[in-house]
Amino acid sequence: MANNYEFTPEDLKEIETIKAKFPEVMPATLPTLWVAQRRFGHVEPEVQHLVAETLDLPVSHVHGVATFYTQYYKEKMGKYVLDVCTTTSCQLCGGYDMLHYLEEKLGIKAGETTKDGMFSIQSVECLGACGYAPMMQITNDVYVNNLTEEKLDEVIESLKADKMPEFESVGMPQHTERS
């Protein structure tokens, strides 16, 4: 497969460091896929081939790993991927309302990417932050909790200005100080 992607020398150095951590190459697949996704924004088929070549592993293996984890993007995604949780707790607290609000606001459906390549929306399963439902995660990174339409507006604005929202630490009820 002709490949349009290439790792930079720094990437290759990082991959060497990763490989050195394991007695075999196979376990290096996951972290190397991360290196690739950070570099290219996705691990679409050609990138999978590149990873396989770099690690000297069967492409089928890399493909199997890449498709097993939803966090690896198997196709080109927007710069910011908005994973809106629609599992039980979030659903009950308006997860779908949030999803649909976003869809309308950005003019795309879940699973799609805006024309300018800025945003993708996905409807995802529980992200383990049920206590702060409804919530979403941005590009496998920051959680935005207790979503409201206003909060979404803010987030989109700041993302448009390339500013990731701050990580919000939400204490558990037993940890909140009684006053």
């Binding site: 493909h63 199997g64 498709t67």
Partner: protein, 578 residues
Amino acid sequence: MPEIFIDGKRYEFEGKPKLLQFILDNGKEVPFFCYHPEMSAPANCRQCYVKVGTPVQNRETGEYELDENGERVIRWFPKMQTSCSMEMTDGMVVHTQETSEEVARAQKDTMELILINHPLDCPICDQAGECPLQIQTYKYGPEGSRFEVKKVHKPKRVELGPRVTLDAERCINCTRCVRFTEEISGTHQLTISSRGDKNYPITAPGMEFDDPYSLNTVDICPVGALTSTDFRFKARVWEMNQTPSIDITGGKGTNVDLWTRDNLVLRLTPRYNENVNTHWMPDEARMAYRKFNENRISRPSIKADGNNQIKTSWNNAIETFAEKLEAVKPADVLVLGSAHASVEENYSLMKLFSTWGVSDFHFSPDVKEGFGDDFLLTDDQAPNTNGVKALGFSETSAEDLKAAIKSAKVVVLLNDELVDRGVLDSEDLKKPFVISLATNETETSKSTDLVIPITCIAEHAASYVNVEGRIQRSLPAKETKYTHRKLDLEMSEGRLDRYGTNFDNWVNEDNKVDCTPIWELMNNLGKRLGLSVQFGTSREIMDEIASSNSSFEGVSYEKMDDENGIQLTGMNKEEVSA
């Protein structure tokens, strides 16, 4: 010796066998899907559940602790264990579904889960009739499903490669196919994609499943997910006969089964032989079935005017054969044996002609350098090179052969596609009168003057010596115009053969080829020539060979059948590679 108690019965064992294999080896049964004796056991189908316990031992004395009745105290594993991956230990106690309700229930529940998204379209599924899922569901599964919502849909009719088609919905994700490419063929072409209820095996994007052994995955797939693109939808399993035979497309002597219906061979599958091919066969070898059905020579033909061959009677063919011989001296006749024909065929040809006075016998080896691998493909393209050599045919190069043909007046050619495989040019066969004894219409048979049809491996019992010097034999699977499965006790009879009649609309008389085994032809020719050569069945011919040729000492059909082939003494791999 270590002991184990399975369903209350004591067995002794050696080494560290795995429980499931041991249970199977002892003629008992536990349902399973993902386990395969030649591959690693990932224990992912969870079907082979059994209940396992080990005796409690006193740490100091090593004595078994006993209860008030004097019985050993057993500590049961807290959960069901997968027997395929469970290593046996001394004193282990096991309950299968036969003696434990709990185990039977666990197996049933697993089956219910496996079936949740299974389409259960057995009536249109190629696997039906030979489907472990179908059989085991029938024996151990739930009677119905409690799952009433829509099943998950997955890709159907996916062409994984040139020969294998996938129906992902039927896949139970046992990973046998993936492990085959990882552990047996080593091409690593398959992987399981995605996860949960969405997963199924696939190649990496942009890649093809063109493994030279890809069709083995169809055999080991425990469901109808992987099907042979060539064979799918051609026949229901129960309509076919299964006859043991040998692969003739190479030198390995891979053991195969021929599957026939109405005297057509519809597919070939590998037959287990631990000394030759174990469970596998190359894809190429599977296509040989077409040769058994297509372009067969039926009834002799003779070159009339110019290059046209016309059909002729058997009487005329033998009469012509004899006249041509009588018109020349034995020294003017060139007899060519064939590594593509069996020991018995070459022998009967040789015997008749040496009685008549011919002293030189030749054959042209069919070797493609570099074609072989370390597995089942060999450089040798013929199934019986060692056999013809051992009979005394001398290996002859293309140049020598051409020269010999030039100086001969009559050439007798036993089934070998010399023109097609480029050893000869059809021009080379112009001068002498060439008689070919052949199974299929080829460029070679077209270039000869008299063509007499003979039976192919699917129609006769005959033996072949593989590259390692192992002699193995075939059984007749397909009737000719002159044989009948009800009379030939070596032929198997399927349901359709047994209960059908010649007037059924699925019966086609044309599927029976008008040909005879070469030994019968030699009998007729010998009689016409006034020679006292008489052959019986191929079984008798083999006895005759065994008593007259030291290479074949001790060989008989009984022994070959009992021992799944016989390693001939004095023949080994080294000798062969020459």
